[in-house]
Amino acid sequence: MEPHIQVRDLNVYYEKIHALKDIDLEIPRHQITVIMGPSGCGKTTLLKSLNRFLELNESTRMSGNILIDGEDIYALGVDVTEVRKKAGLLAQHPFPLPMSIYDNVAYGLRIHGMCPNGRSVDAKVQHYLLEAGLWEEVKDRLHFPATGLSVGQQQRLCLARGLAIEPEILLGDEPTSALDPISAQHIENRLMDLKNEYTIILVTHILRQAKRLADYVVFMYLGKVIESGLPGEIFDNPQEERTLAYLEGQF
């Protein structure tokens, strides 16, 4: 099957720091790709290059190509907002927008003019809150500020908000690391449900979570991709010493 995302010869620098070195990667469609590696190896940087967040920082430079569906997202004339609409982000800490729960989900719809008439907004908000597993908990207080939710609920709200703009790709940067075990479980279950429709890229430090979720594993070390492949191969029979060392908890 044709890979959904292709990363070709990607190099990223922050001032003098060479954060990503010659990354070549193919990410399969409608599967969960888990990126692992010790702290500071460039996982967040790789995710940020996929939704063009790197350019928000003045001091970054990059070279190479990233293709989504065969189209270079860094080509001249590509609309950044379209790229970001295609690749939704679930950050480490939930940041609800300073508005009501309902408006948080409707925000993206309005920004992109996806709901010409008002009634369908209601339906879509309900749909995506259901999909994120939050509907039952918030259906009576849709118009209260989103900041009143618990952190775990906020993260699911962020998921619903991200889903509402109908992305093809979900980028999760340790989305469960700030959550309690039950909320984390919630998010994991959602991701499992969603992988039939979305290409999911998940950064995690939790080995067991990776084993539970991964369809494809990428192992990074000091800005390089050391090894990538199916979970069976990587977890049980790593080819590289450094992967083995990481899996055994030596970093």
């Binding site: 940041f95 927008l97 300073p98 920004i111 992109h112």
Partner: protein
């Protein structure tokens, strides 16, 4: 680790000093310092009380309502109506706010959200400089550059828009509310920009990123996410700017015309309270009740300014303070 090294000499000296002696010294200095912190309250109190006391003579001759709403100012006849001066103060301040607020807010948004760090690093000293220029220099600039421009401008505007009372012209000199407003607007610009930048900084970056990640443009993010959250803080910043404008004396005095009449057009001259006080201090001891009237004007000005200043200061402490926690 580095801190240790610097602290070494203190450590030695404190071991060498007798223990008791140090404790006593500490207590004593602590008490003295505490007494000095009462000074700001004391100054505030003495300023207000002494102005009130010195205003007494005129308050016993006229009622407060009569003074505040009176339109006539003839000290020799014993008529002291503050209304034209209060009106003039607010006209000029309002003019300044109308001119200053839109560019200030846009500049603040530009500096804190858009521009490269290098530009904002250059902008800060420039704004500090603008804030540091003495008010007589602003006055000179107003007289030399702004008043003639306003003079020309007013005759053109009058030709086309003269039928609107706000733009009608019965003053050919250019010394007018518009001139005063322009000069004041530039004077309060650095304050409003600084406060607005500070307020915008209270929105966490993660919130901005959340909006951008959904494919919003930068401006959409500002319009729908940042500004709604900072509305009250920005408003407080504008009120703070107003409180600075209300009390400004020399620069305004030099360009605003100083005619004791309630203005009705932006090309009319006005006579704000600070100008009244500054212009007449010389003869105030020679006419009965005149000194009480002028100090009364100072009291009225102080009350107005304190009102605006207190609202904005308390609001800003709350807003900027809260999100720093």
């Amino acid at each position: 680790m580095k801190a240790r090294r610097v602290l070494q000499p203190i450590w030695f000296s404190s071991v060498l000093l007798p223990f008791l002696n140090r404790r006593v010294k500490d207590r004593f200095v602590g008490g003295a310092f505490f007494l000095i912190t009462i000074l700001p309250f004391a100054i505030l109190l003495v300023v207000i009380v002494s102005l009130i006391l010195r205003t007494q003579p005129i308050l016993s001759a006229h009622s407060i309502g009569e003074l505040l709403t009176g339109q006539k100012w003839y000290p020799l006849k014993g008529q002291f109506g503050f209304f034209p001066f209060i009106a003039g103060t607010f006209w000029v301040t309002f003019m300044a706010l109308i001119l200053a607020v839109p560019p200030c807010l846009l500049s603040a948004i530009y500096l804190s959200e858009y521009c490269r760090p290098r530009i904002s690093a250059v902008a800060k000293p420039l704004l500090d400089l603008l804030a540091g220029i003495p008010s007589v220099v602003y006055g000179v600039w107003g007289m030399v550059a702004i008043v003639p421009l306003v003079q020309v401008f007013s005759s053109h505007v009058n030709k086309w828009l003269g039928f609107i009372p706000l733009f009608s012209k019965n003053n050919p000199t250019g010394y007018s509310i518009l001139s005063g407003g322009i000069v004041l607007a530039v004077m309060i610009t650095p304050f409003i920009i600084a406060v607005t930048c500070e307020v915008l900084r209270t929105v966490p970056d993660g919130t901005r990123l959340a909006s951008l990640a959904l494919g919003a443009t930068k401006w959409q993010t500002i319009k729908y996410v940042v500004l709604p959250q900072t509305r009250s803080g920005i408003f407080a910043g504008v009120v703070f700017g107003a409180s600075r404008a209300l009390g400004e004396t020399m620069a305004v005095l030099m360009v605003v015309g100083n005619v004791a009449k309630v203005p009705s057009s932006i090309f009319d001259p006005a006579y704000p309270l600070p100008a009244l006080i500054a212009n007449n201090y010389g003869e105030m001891m020679s006419i009965p009740l005149y000194d009480a009237a002028l100090l009364g004007a100072a009291l009225v000005l102080l009350i107005i300014v304190l009102f605006f200043n207190l609202i904005s200061t308390i609001a800003l402490r709350h807003i900027i303070g809260r999100s720093k926690i």
